[in-house]
């Protein structure tokens, strides 16, 4: 499984309140959430993001609230993958459960700039920066995580497993 897209680069401690402000949490509709994704730190994000694009950010991405709406908003905005040196633990768990690919790779984050074009291979963990020609190695997902992401999240994964056993 591969993804290609341009980079939106942000700093450290991007929190769930800027990913999706709580004032919009009276809905759980992915499209409605995506319409406000990142707006408090980057009001152009929503108009500029295209399917496949990637967020590259500093440590502790997704800190704060347990709202699953945060990975949902990012995924529904078209983002294929978030790359950071580390993720806040609830966000990490929620992202996988929602089928949003995330990769931990400090070296890549340091060497990738806003607007760079990347190709990410989830099977090998290779992050290739097409703009600079540099290549980085992140830990590839274990098999079951790959399957969760391919199944569009934990629920899809569980349903698929159920079908297979029936």
């Amino acid at each position: 499984m591969k993804a290609k897209g341009k980079v939106f680069k942000y700093g450290a401690n991007v929190d769930t309140d800027v990913i999706i402000p709580a004032r919009y949490l009276n809905t759980a509709e992915p499209a409605e959430l995506a319409a406000h994704c990142m707006e408090d730190i980057d009001k152009d994000f929503v108009s500029r993001v295209e399917p496949g694009d990637m967020i590259v950010a500093g440590p502790n991405f997704g800190c704060g609230s347990s709202r699953e709406h945060a990975p949902v908003a990012i995924k529904a905005s078209g983002v294929s993958c978030v790359i950071a040196p580390s993720f806040a633990r609830i966000f990490y768990r929620n992202a996988i459960n929602m089928g949003l690919a995330i990769m931990e790779c400090p070296e890549a984050v340091e060497a990738i700039s806003d607007g760079d074009k990347l190709e990410v291979d989830f099977d090998t963990g290779v992050i290739f920066n097409e703009t600079t020609g540099k290549r980085f190695q992140a830990e590839p997902f274990p098999e079951f995580i790959k399957k969760i992401i391919e199944s569009d999240g934990l629920v899809g994964y569980i349903s698929r497993k159920k079908e297979q056993t029936q």
Partner: protein, 428 residues
């Protein structure tokens, strides 16, 4: 093989003699929690799983506290969905605004006697870590985890490493547990305990009342912690006798203690006598500053309440400080007793009268302003001192507003002075 307190609780719930950091385990859950933001998406997932019932209707707690009293039609429909679900499955611990058992989730679950030492609790709310104050393992998860936990009564965890916070001495008069946790987050940063347990130990523990322990564990997540946890002692048992007498009498709890040779990734000694009055500046809880160390910051609003500081002890302290004073002209002071029980006690003790006389708006039980939901939203350029737990960009309203986190004494003094102040200035 030695274990931390958290590891012992997890091992017992996984049916294992021993667990070590990094191990993936499946653990049985004693309590599962959701609120009106996180439960509606969980209900959708619950239905998708095709489950016929929840695993145990006595072990699920659903608390509509975020956008209630219903903010708007969308919020009302979210709450209606939750209510319908609670009725359909006869959820015993579903509370409605105004009910004697109602309040902000992390205030009422301990008060209603649902949290016992040795329990494993997950909640689809990041501040679920509050319950570690009572010697339970409690951590926040997302809605999908909540849904699956409601179906099967168990979930998976990665066994965390731990930081040992060795507390020595005693807090100075006027310094609260809130100052201590802001001070600690200032020391280690908002990812200082990422994926780890924050285990509080040392002689200083015995000097901290339960209200402070709840405040401290509440904010473990603000340092990235998986959980915060206090050992079980006389103070814990006294709390249980008061708030969970039946479970206490039936002995429905287990006291776990860390092994003496438990391995910690690091030990941080905190001299409680050296903790100053602390304020966390925008826009991260780690931006801790000592009162008196910064220039005058004028403010527009003060919020006293939330799952961090909405307990009766906070209300008593606020009333004691505000008595005989008036809120600064042009400033809004919003006081939110955290539960009906707290509110009732405030009425009985005459505290509400003190708040109203000071010029405060006493609000309904809600998380509202803390998360920028409703009932106390800030305009662009406005500044608020809040006893809440987060000061991220836009947390309480406009992305150009600012939240300064503090304990009750600073909040009260600031409300009276109109700028960020310590309680010493109240008499000046």
């Amino acid at each position: 093989m030695s274990m931390t307190m958290t590891q012992k609780i997890l091992a017992a719930h996984a049916g294992l003699d021993h667990v070590s950091a990094g191990q993936l385990i499946e653990a049985k859950l004693d309590l599962v929690l959701g609120n009106d933001v996180t439960t509606p998406p969980a209900i959708k997932v619950f239905e998708e799983t095709g489950a016929a019932d929840v695993f145990d209707k006595a072990k699920v707690a659903l608390v509509p506290d975020h956008f209630t009293p219903n903010k708007d039609i969308k919020s009302a429909e979210h709450c209606a969905r939750m209510r319908t679900f609670a009725r359909r499955f006869d959820i015993e611990n579903y509370y409605e605004q105004g009910e004697a058992t109602f309040g902000i989730e992390h205030v009422v679950l301990p008060e209603n006697g649902l949290v016992m030492p040795g329990y494993v609790i997950i909640g689809a709310d990041s501040h679920t870590c509050t319950y570690g104050a009572l010697g339970a393992f409690a951590t926040g998860v997302g809605s999908t985890d909540l849904a699956c936990a409601m179906v099967v009564g168990q979930t998976w965890f990665r066994v965390p490493e731990a930081i040992n916070f060795k507390l020595v001495g005693k807090l100075n008069p006027g310094i609260t547990g809130k100052d201590l946790i802001l001070h600690i987050i200032g020391m280690i940063g908002v990812d200082g305990a990422l994926y780890q347990s924050m285990e509080f130990t040392g002689d200083g523990v015995a000097t901290l009342p339960m209200s402070d322990r709840l405040t401290i564990c509440n904010m473990a997540i603000e340092a990235g912690g998986k959980n915060g946890i206090f050992p079980v002692d006389e103070i814990t048992l006294d709390y249980l006798k008061n708030f969970a007498p039946e479970r206490f009498d039936r002995g429905e709890y287990t006291v776990f203690a860390a092994d003496e040779d438990a391995e910690y990734v690091r030990t941080i000694e905190v001299d409680l006598a050296k903790v100053p009055l602390t304020v966390a500046f925008p826009h991260l809880p780690e931006n801790a500053r000592e009162i008196g160390s910064f220039e005058r910051v004028d403010i527009d609003q003060v919020v006293i309440g939330s799952c961090t500081n909405g307990r009766i002890e906070d209300m008593r302290l606020a009333a004691e400080l505000l008595k005989g004073h008036k809120v600064s002209k042009g400033l809004r002071l919003i006081v939110i007793p955290g539960s009906q029980r707290v509110y009732r006690e405030c009425l009985r003790e005459g505290l509400i009268e003190v708040f109203v006389d000071a010029g405060a708006a006493v609000s309904a039980r809600t998380c509202g302003p803390c998360l920028g939901g409703h009932m106390g939203i800030l305009a662009a350029g406005e500044r608020c001192v809040a006893t809440t737990n987060r000061n991220f960009v836009g947390r309480m309203g406009h992305p150009k507003s600012e939240v300064y986190l503090a304990g009750v004494p600073v909040a009260c003094a600031s409300a009276v002075k109109g700028y960020i102040a310590g309680p010493a200035e109240l008499d000046a």
